[in-house]
């Protein structure tokens, strides 16, 4: 069983402070949806609203078409995986997983059978009799997932569950989570401030900022077609070049920046004379000599620093207008030597011009 989660104008106020501000969204049944945003953007409050620990002060929340107003967290078809995992330290792994079933009055044998089945799902089949503190971080993680899945939720909510793990384990658990989600087929709603996690796991991502939903879309859409300056700079690396719009036509615009006049896409239809910021991804910024196309934008810069990262090399440039970052792949030729002057180029279709981020 899986269910749709629909938010309509959901608002949560704590006194004068709006933690969640007018969020409307439909999350499809069986979707892996992530809320991505910096800490304090209201994503955890939103998750607690969906799970029932926080009542929205405005708007409606429906799960599987049912209005959730006044329904407590123990009565909702959701299960939450806490950031701290919140496993019960005095119970064994098996007892932890079976807790939800015990509450529901299942027989001991049924509890045991179901718990064992779930421990197999999360590859902990032989660890049932251990105490929770005898497990490693990744194993605890999987116990928490099994415990939540045991109650057969229609929606699984995950509150940054990977943040306590080390890098290798985190990457492993991303794949694991995705695989578990495919296997059980229920809706996953995932909260994170780590864009890598959100991009690799999710079907769709909602970027949040100061309680508001800035943009919803697939990872690719967010990365390639950001709709706001915040999304452009928060999702992935981007070179930001502020300036004034000088010319706008046919979905493109030219802005006058400290780096010179630069051309880019103008998806929000900015008018001439407006304050704007041009964003260009580091991997789209190339030394002119290696560019295989006819780029509209060129600028002069000096190589300040190189950072070799294996597959790619990060090159820091200093130019008249500020510092720029380029990422050169293996097909982009030899990286330029530090201190040398380089002519950089990028295509107008690889750059996007957006209104500057409002002060949150």
């Amino acid at each position: 069983m899986t269910a749709e989660v629909a938010l309509e104008g959901v608002t949560v106020r704590f006194g004068p402070f709006k933690a969640v501000d007018d969020v409307s969204l439909r999350i499809a049944p069986g979707e892996f949806f992530s809320f991505l945003g910096p800490s304090g953007c209201g994503k955890t409050t939103l998750l607690r609203t969906i799970s029932g620990f926080v009542e929205p002060t405005g708007g409606t929340l429906r799960i599987g078409g049912r209005d959730m107003r006044g329904i407590g967290p123990n009565k909702r078809p959701t299960a939450l995986i806490f950031q701290s995992l919140a496993l019960f330290p005095l119970m064994t792994v098996m007892e932890n997983v079976a807790y939800g079933l015990r509450v529901r009055g299942h027989s001991r044998a049924a509890q045991r059978a179901r718990a064992e089945e779930l421990l197999h799902v999360v590859a902990l089949g032989d660890q049932g009799s251990k105490r929770v503190d005898q497990l490693s971080g990744g194993q605890k993680q999987r116990v928490a997932i099994a415990r939540a899945l045991a109650v057969e939720p229609e929606v699984l909510l995950l509150d940054e569950p990977l943040s306590a793990l080390d890098l290798k384990l985190r990457q492993h658990m991303r794949n694991e989570l995705r695989a578990i989600q495919r296997r059980v087929g229920i809706t996953f709603i995932y909260i994170t401030h780590d864009q890598g996690e959100a991009l690799t796991m999710s079907d769709r991502i909602g970027v949040m900022r100061a309680g508001r939903l800035e943009q919803v879309g697939t990872g690719r859409a967010l990365y390639d077609q950001p709709e706001t300056a915040f999304v452009a700079s928060f999702v992935g690396e981007a070179n930001a070049m502020p300036g004034l719009v000088r010319d706008a036509s046919d979905g493109y615009a030219v802005i006058e920046t400290a780096f010179g006049p630069l051309q880019g896409r103008n998806p929000s239809g900015m008018k001439v004379g407006a304050q704007a910021v041009l964003f260009v991804r580091p991997e789209r910024l190339l030394p002119y000599s290696t560019a295989v196309f006819c780029p509209q934008n060129r600028l002069q810069a000096r190589v300040a620093d190189l950072a070799y990262e294996g597959q790619v090399t990060h090159v820091m440039f200093s130019a008249e207008g500020g510092r720029l970052l380029a990422v050169l792949g293996p097909r982009d030729g030899e990286p330029p030597a530090p201190g040398s002057d380089v002519s950089l180029a990028f295509a107008a279709r690889d750059a996007v011009i957006l209104p500057p981020a409002s002060q949150a």
Partner: protein, 340 residues
């Protein structure tokens, strides 16, 4: 039969034997619990501080706690003699004081000492009841303080809990008498409101005594409980709720097991102090109230039979320890848990 002189030598040797035994027991518990070895005591504190701590604690324990207690225990096995016969040929170890407690006579074993035995049993049972009642009373308060209250509410509540204890224990007992007397505050109010037609004998029915004792030890129950409940992670409570548990299930199977050591130490404190309470039973006890401590008191200061008083006190102490250890066994805890 060993002589009194040998007894005195044993008396002095005993604390050292006891010290070694306790040290060994703790080491054994550490090994059983598989706790990692810690750096040595002197390593951690340095020699000068280490020696000072050792001496200070040893002197305190030996001089103020162990030796006086042992003296009383030794005394309880000796007969009551006129001053000039102490240390004389009749001063030998005897069980006559214990015999008196059981049979009401130092020589005969024909009939039971019903009055004292009944009082003894009543005291133990009542103290158990008071501990249990106090636990039920204080658990919600402590839970509110630990998990629900904001900082300001917590400070206010703490103050409200502590402030009454600025008043002397005996004065508090008398205040309860004022409230519960047949022409007291409570009866006057109930009569005035028309709930009753004649005053209720709160003191005669021991309601005053129980109320006073329960009230006297709330703080001793609240603080260990608060301590234990405070360490329960709030997310665990939420997790249980999220998994569908009703509130009573969360308390019974998630919170209480985690707070077990706090419950044990609170109950132990209340039980020990309630059995040993003297002022409240004297002031609030009705004619039918037979708390054991006034009887012990009378052995010393009315009958002037110190050996007998010592025997009575020792019996009470041993009984309390047995009850506490049995209670801890029941909760699957050891003594060090209750001392947390």
């Amino acid at each position: 039969m060993i002589s009194v002189a040998t007894g005195h030598r044993l008396l002095v040797a005993f604390p050292f034997v006891l010290g070694v035994l306790i040290w060994g027991w703790l080491a054994f518990e550490r090994r059983v619990a598989k706790l990692p070895p810690r750096p040595g005591f002197f390593r951690r504190n340095g020699w000068p501080v280490g020696i000072y701590l050792m001496l200070a604690v040893a002197l305190w324990l030996l001089g103020m706690v162990v030796l006086p207690q042992l003296f009383m225990v030794e005394l309880s096995f000796r007969p009551k003699l006129p001053f000039n016969q102490i240390g004389g040929p009749r001063d030998v170890y005897t069980l006559e004081n214990y015999r008196y407690f059981l049979f009401g006579s130092t020589t005969s074993t024909e009939s039971w000492n019903a009055v004292h035995l009944r009082s003894f049993a009543t005291t133990i049972m009542s103290a158990l009841f008071i501990s249990g009642f106090n636990l039920l009373l204080c658990y919600p308060i402590a839970f509110y303080m630990a998990q629900a209250a904001t900082g300001a509410q917590l400070r206010l509540l703490m103050l409200m809990l502590i402030a009454p204890y600025w008043v002397n224990e005996i004065l508090r007992a008398f205040a309860f008498r004022v409230i519960f007397a047949s022409s007291g505050l409570l009866n006057t109010m109930l009569l005035g409101a028309g709930f009753i037609v004649e005053p209720i004998d709160f003191i005669g029915r021991n309601i005053a005594l129980f109320s006073g004792l329960i009230y006297a030890y709330t703080l001793l129950m609240v603080f260990p409980l608060y301590n234990a409940l405070d360490s329960v992670e709030a997310a665990q409570i939420e997790a249980a709720r999220d998994l569908g548990a009703p509130w009573w299930h969360i308390h019974l199977f998630v919170i209480v097991p985690a707070a077990k050591s706090g419950i044990a130490s609170g109950c132990t404190l209340v039980f020990m102090l309630a059995t040993g309470a003297l002022a409240a039973p004297l002031v609030l006890g009705g004619p039918s109230a037979m708390w054991f401590t006034p009887i012990v008191y009378d052995r010393f200061y009315q009958v002037f039979n110190w050996p007998q008083g010592a025997a009575y006190a020792f019996v009470l102490l041993v009984a309390c320890l047995i009850v506490v250890v049995a209670g801890l066994r029941l909760l699957r805890l050891n003594l060090t848990d209750a001392a947390r």
